[in-house]
C-alpha cells in the first residue's frame, strides 16, 4: 500500500514538472523515462540476480525498431506496436540468457558486449535488415494513434510522456514487490551463491532465463516508445556506447535500487542537453565550450568518485545515511539493543 502511494505521489509530481518548458525539455523528459526503463532492466538483472549485461541498449533498440516497423509498415495501434516490441525484446533476452547459464563475470560481460556490437553494426546499420530497420533513414512515425487518440510526436509529447511515466511507475512498484517476493528471493539467492541456490532446489536454467527475459522486456518497453517520442528511429541512440553508459550509470546511481533508475534516467537525458545548450559562452574574456564529450568525461570522473565515496551508489548510500540519521534521532536509549 505504502509503495503504491509512493508511486502515485511520484507520478503526480513528475507529471507536472515538464509543463511550461519548451519542446526540447519535454523531449528530454520523455527520453529520461525511456533511459530509466533501460536502467530499471539492469536493476533487475544485475541488482537482483547478479548477472552482467552490456547489451541493454540493444534490447531497447530491438523494441524501438519493432514498434517502428509495426506502426509504419502495418499501421497498427501504437499499443499493439509496444506489445510487439516488448515481446521481440524479451525473446532476444532469453536467447542472450542462454550463454549466461554457463558463463559468469567477465566472460559473460564480453559475450553480451559482442551481442551489442553485432546488433549495432550488422543489424541496425546493415542493408540486409532493411525490412526491420527501415533503411538508412529509419522509420518515420508521423500518424501514430494510441487508444484511438492522435499521438503526433511534437505536438502531443506530453501525452506520450504521461503514458511512459505511468508505465514506469507501475513497473517500478512491481519490481519492488518482486524483490520481497518468493521469486525475488530466489533471484537474490542466485546472486549470492549459485552453488547453494542449485542445491537448495532453485532451477537455475529457469530463473536465469526468466531474469534475462524480464530484463530485456523492461528495456524493450522503454525502447518501443522511442519512435513515438522522437518521431523516427535511428541506430545512433541504441549503439554500443549507450549500453556501456547504462552499466556505468546504473552502478553510479545504485544498481540495487529501483528509484536509482529514475534518477539515472534523468541524469542521462538532461545533463548532456543542458551542457550543449548552456555550456558555451564567455568567462572572464575567454570563450569556452562544453560539449557532449564533456558529459562522458564527467560520467567517468563521477564513477571513480562514487566508487570511493559512495560504494553502494548515490541512491543506496544516501538512503542508508538518511536512515541512519533518522534512527539516531528517533532512538530511545536501549530499545534497539533488544533487537540484537
Amino acid at each position: 500500500m505504502f509503495r503504491l502511494l509512493g508511486a502515485l505521489l511520484a507520478f503526480a509530481v513528475l507529471a507536472r514538472i515538464p509543463v511550461g518548458f519548451d519542446v526540447g525539455f519535454k523531449f528530454d523528459a520523455a527520453l529520461a523515462v525511456i533511459w530509466a526503463f533501460g536502467l530499471l532492466s539492469l536493476v533487475l538483472l544485475t541488482g537482483y540476480v547478479g548477472q552482467i549485461s552490456l547489451c541493454q541498449a540493444t534490447f531497447a533498440g530491438v523494441g524501438a525498431y519493432t514498434a517502428g516497423m509495426m506502426v509504419s509498415s502495418f499501421h497498427v495501434d501504437y499499443l499493439v506496436a509496444v506489445v510487439a516490441g516488448v515481446v521481440a525484446a524479451a525473446a532476444l533476452g532469453v536467447v542472450v540468457g542462454l550463454p549466461a547459464l554457463r558463463l559468469r563475470g567477465i566472460t559473460l560481460a564480453i559475450v553480451t558486449l559482442g551481442i551489442a556490437l553485432v546488433f549495432d553494426r550488422y543489424v541496425f546499420q546493415d542493408h540486409a535488415f532493411e525490412w526491420f530497420t527501415g533503411g538508412t533513414g529509419g522509420w518515420r512515425v508521423s500518424q501514430a494513434t494510441m487508444f484511438g487518440l492522435q499521438m503526433d510526436s511534437s505536438a502531443h509529447l506530453m501525452a506520450a510522456y504521461l503514458v511512459l511515466l505511468g508505465l514506469f511507475c507501475v513497473v517500478a512498484v512491481l519490481l519492488v514487490n518482486l524483490h520481497e517476493s518468493g521469486a525475488g528471493r530466489r533471484f537474490r539467492a542466485i546472486r549470492d551463491s549459485e552453488l547453494a541456490a542449485a542445491t537448495m532446489g532453485v532451477d537455475l536454467t529457469r530463473y536465469k532465463l526468466l531474469a534475462f527475459g524480464m530484463s530485456a522486456a523492461i528495456a524493450g518497453l522503454g525502447g518501443s516508445f522511442y519512435p513515438l517520442v522522437a518521431g523516427s528511429v535511428s541506430p545512433q541512440p541504441f549503439w554500443l556506447f549507450t549500453s556501456l553508459q547504462f552499466a556505468a550509470i546504473a552502478v553510479l546511481m545504485g544498481v540495487r535500487y529501483v528509484p536509482a533508475a529514475a534518477l539515472g534516467g534523468a541524469f542521462m537525458a538532461f545533463v548532456p542537453d543542458v551542457l550543449t545548450r548552456y555550456g558555451h559562452g564567455a568567462f572572464m574574456g575567454h570563450a569556452y565550450e562544453i560539449s557532449y564529450d564533456w558529459f562522458q568525461v564527467a560520467v567517468g570522473v563521477l564513477l571513480i568518485v562514487q566508487l570511493i565515496a559512495l560504494p553502494d551508489g548515490v541512491w543506496g548510500d544516501l538512503r542508508r545515511r538518511f536512515r541512519h540519521a533518522w534512527s539516531s534521532v528517533g532512538m530511545v536509549g536501549g530499545r534497539r539493543v533488544k533487537v540484537a
Binding site: G182, R188, S193, D203, M331, V337
Partner: protein, 567 residues
C-alpha cells in the same frame, strides 16, 4: 531399509583418479560418517551425491530412484539437502529469508502472482515464515532471524546452513565438515544438536568431518576413504581400533618431549627478545578484541598461542604484523619500535606472517610462487633449499597452487616464508582443515625452522601437537593472556586443559553440559550485532562502564542483554 545406495562410483579429474569404484549404503534413520585423510575424495563423493559434479562411472540410487543424472535442484526436491564446508549462505539476505528460499522451491509458487501480491501468495508467504521460525527455534537461532546471514560469525553461519538444509524437509542431510573452525566446546554442542535434529526432523545424515571426536560421538556407522578407495567400514569403535585406519589417517601418537628448556633459558639471559609486545590493544570497528597483551619471543624459539575461538589470537598476530592498527601499547621487533609501521616495512625487517587461509595465489605455479620471493627481495634467490625441505613440492613445481591439496598449499606457504630468510615466522592456524598425518609433517618442519635459528610464533587449535613442538606457550582468554609458561609445564596443567577447551572429548562434554558455567564469555555473534546496531551514544556508555569495571566491553554487553531478555 537402504535409503542411499552408491555403486562403483568413479570420478577422474584429468589424470587424477579422485574416486575409484566407491560403493556405499546408507540406511534410513542412520547417521553415517565418512572420514579419510586430505585428498581422499570425501568432498568429491559428496559433490557426486548432491549433483554438483557428475561421475564418470557408477550409479547413485536414492529411495530406489536413480540420481546419477538428475540436476541438483531435482535432487533437492527428492529430499537430499546439503551444507557446505566453505559456507555458502546467501549473505545479503536475512537468516529467515535463507530458510524460505528452499521452502518455496518445494511448493509451487508463481512469479507473477508473487509480484502482484495476490492473496494466496501472501498466505503461502506467512506459512513459510511460520515454518522458518519453528526450525530456527529448534536450532536456537531465533534471535538471528532478521540479521543478514553474511554478518554472522562463522560458527553461527554453520548452524544456519543446517537450518537452511532442514527447511527443504529433506529425508537425507549431507553435512560437509560441520565442525570446521569450531572449538571443542562448540563441537560438543554440535553433536548434541545433530542428535536432536535427527529426532525432531526424522532425517538420515551423511557426515564428512576431520574432527574425530564429532564423528565418533555422532555416527552409527563409519566409512573410511583413502586415495579414492574405500579403506574400511564399521562401527566407530571398530574403526578406532582398525590398524589400517590408524596408519592411514591418525598416524602414530607422538611422544615428543618438547623443546630444550635449558638452552632457551640460557639464550634468554644473553640476548634481548626478538619480538616484544607490551600492553597491546586492537580491534575492529567499535569492538576491542584484544587488550593488555604482553608477549615475548626470543631468537630461535618456538612459541605457541592457544585458546578458544574468538579469544584474540589471530587479532594479536595481525596487530603485530601491521595488518591492523594497534590501539594502544607497543610492538618492538629486532630492537626497533614497529608500532604503527606498515606491513611491508615490518616484513622487510624479517617478520613473515602466514595468515589463516595461507595467502597464496591460486593461479600461480609452485615455482613461480617461490620465485616471487626473490623478486620482492630484489635479487634472484635460489629456490632449491625450499625443494630440499619439501621434496613433494619439487615434483609439483609446475602445478598451479590452487590445484594442490590443503597440506601441500601450506607447504608452499612455509617454503615461501623460509626463502625470504626471516628471523620470525608467525603462522596462523597452520593445521586448519588438514588430516593429522599431514599436520605431523608440518610440525616437523617447524622443528627444522628452529634448528635454522628462525623463531616461530604459532596460533594453533591442535593444542597437543602445538605444545609438543613449542618451547613456550601463551594461553589466550577473552582477549588477553590468561596463562603463560614453558610448554612442558602447560601440558601437565589441568586447569589449562579445562579452561580453554583443549579438545579431549571428556572435558568438552563436561563443559558443554554446564552451559552457563562460563556465562560471561562474550558471544562473538552478539558482539558483532551490537557493534553494528548500537548507536554511538550507547556504545560510549558501554565502553565507559567496561573501563570503570575493568572488564571487556563484550562482557558488559552480554550482561546487559541478559537483563533485557528477562524483561
Amino acid at each position: 531399509m537402504t535409503m542411499l545406495r552408491v555403486r562403483d562410483l568413479t570420478v577422474r579429474f584429468g589424470g587424477i583418479v579422485a574416486l575409484d569404484g566407491v560403493s556405499l549404503d546408507l540406511n534410513r534413520g542412520e547417521i553415517l560418517g565418512l572420514i579419510g585423510p586430505n585428498g581422499a575424495g570425501k568432498t568429491t563423493l559428496f559433490n557426486c551425491i548432491s549433483g554438483v559434479i557428475r561421475p564418470d562411472h557408477g550409479s547413485i540410487y536414492f529411495e530406489d530412484q536413480s540420481l546419477t543424472y538428475a540436476p541438483p535442484h531435482e535432487r533437492a526436491r527428492l529430499g537430499v539437502a546439503r551444507t557446505f564446508q566453505n559456507l555458502q549462505l546467501w549473505g545479503s539476505m536475512t537468516v529467515e529469508e535463507n530458510l524460505i528460499v528452499p521452502m518455496d522451491a518445494l511448493g509451487r509458487r508463481n512469479t507473477f502472482s508473487d509480484t502482484l501480491y495476490l492473496p494466496f501468495s501472501g498466505y503461502a508467504e506467512r506459512a513459510s515464515q511460520e515454518r522458518a521460525r519453528a526450525i530456527l527455534h529448534v536450532l536456537d537461532l531465533d534471535r538471528y532471524a532478521r540479521t543478514a546471514a553474511g554478518d554472522l560469525p562463522a560458527g553461527i553461519q554453520r548452524r544456519v546452513e543446517i537450518a537452511r538444509a532442514l527447511a527443504m524437509r529433506p529425508r537425507l542431510l549431507l553435512l560437509d565438515e560441520p565442525a570446521a573452525g569450531l572449538d571443542a566446546k562448540e563441537t560438543a554442542r554440535l553433536a548434541g544438536l545433530l542428535h536432536a535434529v535427527r529426532q525432531r526432523f526424522h532425517v538420515s545424515m551423511l557426515l564428512v568431518d576431520h574432527d574425530m571426536s564429532l564423528v565418533m560421538r555422532v555416527c552409527d556407522y563409519v566409512y573410511v576413504l583413502d586415495f579414492g578407495r574405500m579403506l574400511a567400514k564399521g562401527q566407530p569403535s571398530e574403526i578406532r581400533n582398525n590398524p589400517k585406519v590408524i596408519a592411514a589417517y591418525l598416524g602414530e601418537e607422538s611422544k615428543n618431549q618438547g623443546g630444550d628448556i635449558h638452552a632457551v633459558a640460557q639464550a634468554r639471559n644473553e640476548e634481548p627478545p626478538l619480538l616484544e609486545v607490551k600492553k597491546l590493544a586492537a580491534g575492529y570497528g567499535g569492538l576491542e578484541v584484544i587488550r593488555d597483551v604482553d608477549l615475548e619471543v626470543w631468537p630461535g624459539e618456538v612459541v605457541a598461542c592457544i585458546g578458544a575461538n574468538g579469544a584474540g589470537k589471530t587479532t594479536t598476530l595481525r596487530a603485530i604484523s601491521g595488518m591492523i592498527h594497534a590501539r594502544a601499547g607497543h610492538v618492538m621487533f629486532a630492537g626497533q619500535d614497529v608500532t604503527g609501521s606498515t606491513a611491508e616495512h615490518i616484513s622487510k625487517l624479517g617478520l613473515v606472517h602466514i595468515p589463516e587461509g595461507r595467502g597464496l595465489f591460486p593461479t600461480m605455479s609452485v615455482e613461480d610462487t617461490l620465485r616471487l620471493v626473490s623478486n620482492t627481495a630484489g635479487q634472484e634467490v635460489d629456490v632449491t633449499p625450499a625443494f630440499q625441505l619439501f621434496p613433494r613440492l619439487r615434483e609439483r613445481r609446475r602445478q598451479l597452487v590452487g590445484t594442490l591439496s590443503g597440506g601441500e598449499q601450506q607447504m608452499v606457504a612455509l617454503a615461501r616464508a623460509i626463502l625470504s630468510r626471516p628471523r620470525l615466522v608467525m603462522i596462523d592456524e597452520m593445521s586448519q582443515g588438514l588430516a593429522p598425518t599431514v599436520v605431523r609433517q608440518l610440525f616437523e618442519i617447524i622443528r627444522v625452522f628452529r634448528e635454522q635459528g628462525i623463531a616461530v610464533l604459532l596460533v594453533e587449535q591442535f593444542v597437543e601437537s602445538a605444545l609438543d613442538v613449542a618451547d613456550r606457550a601463551y594461553v589466550f582468554e577473552h582477549g588477553t593472556i590468561g596463562l603463560s609458561g614453558p610448554a612442558v609445564e602447560l601440558r601437565g596443567d589441568r586447569k589449562l586443559v579445562a579452561g580453554s577447551y583443549l579438545g579431549s572429548a571428556v572435558d568438552a562434554t563436561a563443559i558443554a553440559t554446564n552451559r552457563n558455567g562460563n556465562g560471561h564469555r562474550p558471544d562473538p555473534a552478539l558482539m558483532e550485532i551490537v557493534s553494528v546496531r548500537v548507536p554511538a551514544r550507547v556504545k560510549r556508555a558501554l565502553e565507559l562502564r567496561a573501563e570503570t569495571e575493568g572488564r571487556p566491553a563484550g562482557a558488559v554487553v552480554v550482561e546487559l542483554l541478559e537483563k533485557v531478555d528477562h524483561q
